[in-house]
Symmetry: C2
Subunit: 526 residues, 2 copies
Amino acid sequence: MPTTDAAKSGIPPLDQHFPNSRKIAHGDLQVPAREIALTNGERVTVYDTTGPQGCPVEHGLPKRRQPWIDARTARGDTNFSQLHYARRGLVTEEMRFVALRENVDPEFVRSEVARGRAIIPANRNHPELEPMIIGRNFLVKINSNIGNSALGSSIQEEVEKLQWSIRWGADTVMDLSTGKNLRETREWILRNSPVPIGTVPIYEALERVHGRVEDLNLKLYLEVIEEQAAQGVDYFTVHAGVLLRYVPLTAERVTGIVSRGGSILAKWCLHHHEENFLYTGFEEICKVMQKYDVSFSLGDGLRPGSIADANDAAQFGELETLGELTEIAWRHDVQTMIEGPGHVPLHLIRENMDRQLRVCKEAPFYTLGPLVTDIAPGYDHITSGIGAALIGSMGTAMLCYVTPKEHLGLPNRDDVKQGVITYKIAAHAADLAKGHPGAADRDLALSRARFEFRWQDQFALGLDPVTAREYHDATLPQDGAKVAHFCSMCGPRFCSMKITEEVREYAKSGMQQKNAEFAARGGVVQ
Amino acid sequence: MPTTDAAKSGIPPLDQHFPNSRKIAHGDLQVPAREIALTNGERVTVYDTTGPQGCPVEHGLPKRRQPWIDARTARGDTNFSQLHYARRGLVTEEMRFVALRENVDPEFVRSEVARGRAIIPANRNHPELEPMIIGRNFLVKINSNIGNSALGSSIQEEVEKLQWSIRWGADTVMDLSTGKNLRETREWILRNSPVPIGTVPIYEALERVHGRVEDLNLKLYLEVIEEQAAQGVDYFTVHAGVLLRYVPLTAERVTGIVSRGGSILAKWCLHHHEENFLYTGFEEICKVMQKYDVSFSLGDGLRPGSIADANDAAQFGELETLGELTEIAWRHDVQTMIEGPGHVPLHLIRENMDRQLRVCKEAPFYTLGPLVTDIAPGYDHITSGIGAALIGSMGTAMLCYVTPKEHLGLPNRDDVKQGVITYKIAAHAADLAKGHPGAADRDLALSRARFEFRWQDQFALGLDPVTAREYHDATLPQDGAKVAHFCSMCGPRFCSMKITEEVREYAKSGMQQKNAEFAARGGVVQ
């Protein structure tokens, strides 16, 4: 692994985080995976989001999709949407790629995309992409947010946040920048991103009217999305469901409107006493997005911002509209997913999932958490990871991460890592609960390693090998302890795993003795 | 608050962790609570486990229960079990105490204890105790584990771990020491503990036979529990359900027997080819426990140690036996709760709860997590916090915490804090889901503070005010930012909460305008 280039980006090389691992590539499409070599000779392959390593940031990543896209243009295609191809029965390279990645049949991928139950966010101007799929019959995905604001952080930092996010397992990344240099930041991010990039174009639109919400209009918005789409953004959050009539429903809420996009559109609607221009101009928006195959992430601008506001009339009203818009998007061959809450107590989560599936005709659900309590600022990766695992197990296709800094400040690198790993846990717990084929393999391999005191294998198979090893070293730093048949929690005498081994021996010899007694009695059942 | 004494114990004084808070005491029983003073003049009262502050460790805490206990002895009582009193229709001081603490009727407490659906672990020789209740119709409780092992940590450190655990909200603490000075360590812990202390007496019994499992016997065990009960231990984990016939059911497991107590008993059974002496001697054990009103925590020695082993024949076989033993314990007036797993994927959690309630006749369930995946060593507070929140919402009465060091090493102070706070989140999420009266009050107060940019109140109402403030300061350290009507995530221009305020104004004026128009038209509905 070219350490020098990786070091240039400020992110340590891959093997510093994942010992005993190497990147591998499957098939003619060179689908990436990570192979973990265990000390007993076994190998375990895991899904990999880290992308090509060692490419200088200023050059960007290799454009692996370019030949696929060029061939489509060469044969005269005019509609490049994955949904369009899927409906026509065509299995694209992107579909084959994700099929290999998920270990399922390409035809199954095609059919799920065709019926709108899964999306492959893949702008035709984002050739650096390693395609992935979002849908409830596939592995649950996670999204990480990056982006500078008026108050902080440089372009270089944002690219490193992207690389850092995918290092730990983010499947997509949203660039939520609201400060200066939006276009340039986005360009760097896209050219260095092997994962789909999402944005919220209303932020840039608002920047162009110098923050004057009332000056926003459809024409400007269409210009912004045309430019962002041309750059290669893979999905747009569009708050087209914030209808004029829903806004007053939020007035008595405890926390009103907490979505940035939602509050911008609500303010616009009230100022003009007109319907949301993203709603009235929705078909024009679809046309731009269809041209580049940008996917919709229909924004939940009225999501609840507190437990008290969960599942209220404003939230569910907007959801109905998102269902209506989903069908319009589909008519335009635009792939679509639906954003969901937010803050929801455990007992109200099920209703969110059930309604979304029904109202939005099984379009993939993409939720922010949900946070299951409001009382733990500083720990909202955990309050939301709980809700995310549960709603994921019910069928949510992608989980938007929350960091420990949520509600408090801008996440630093460690916060991003905490958020991503917490959400990898939530997504994997959901995969296990859904019985996704092969999902339990890694648990099994890790538990076997644990039981057999293969400490290095236990570390290597974990989501964060270095931290696991550090924690072990904190109590037993000696090298010998890595092969010791006990651990620091119980010490040598009490180790239950050690005793279990003895129990197995006893059990085995006990069986042999019984067999011997049985034979001695003449082998007759009495 | 006497800072000097608190400092002596090595734990900072309370107000360093909980600004704008003070301890208060309700009613004639002086039931503790913590009152948080908000900047808008409101006050929010929260459950408090921190106990009396500033008592020198070598003196122990005040013996608040002594007069209650003395009065019972003086009037000639011979059976001091809370279950016995409850069945006779008597509301004890302990029941009144927990009723005030939980804001419910004392008669309801009595009836729940009488039917075995809740327990008040309160050894009559633990007068320092501030009584608490464990049952699914009360607030979900959490347990923290402390204890030295052969490899580490001093007595003073263990007392500080106790104080540290209850500082962050542990409702009970188990002393799992297995090293030297067991008796002395326990004495210090008990005399300084306002919360129930649990132990696993088989550890000390094994210490006395120098680790030779085969030398364990009922007589020795009864001596150990008699001594521990006389010291004031409030509940004992007793692995009486590890029957000889269940042991071979674990031989083909991925992770065999992972409970220390379970593996000790399994080894004993196989060595002697006899039934577990804790099972055959159960009634004698009950008699000792009844004398001091020690509660049972019937141990799940065969709990699954990996996702692959969840809900298997060994686990559920043992649970059946625990149900049988519950009825025997109840006949002896011994309060009883049931320990549960362990490692269980999300979709198999419900069966654990349903079975336990049925088989154990609604005796309180006390689970370790469960961990919902095995792949995140270093993050098992989170893998288990997810399962804990879910099973808590289904009716589990107490959740045994897991720290980030689980499977890897001995937790330090920060690990203990992480574990306790994660479990406070899980327990509170469950309380919200169960609709526990008043549970949502703190969420509501915090969300209001958040929405109104009362930053100091948002911090003060959280589970960990200092961390929340630190995270805020990391981006916006200026004092002015604590009253600023925006935060660092969006900056001044984009703040959605700020925009919502404007939306409310617009909405209000819009209504006024419509009212004016309506009046101008003559006030007639058209």
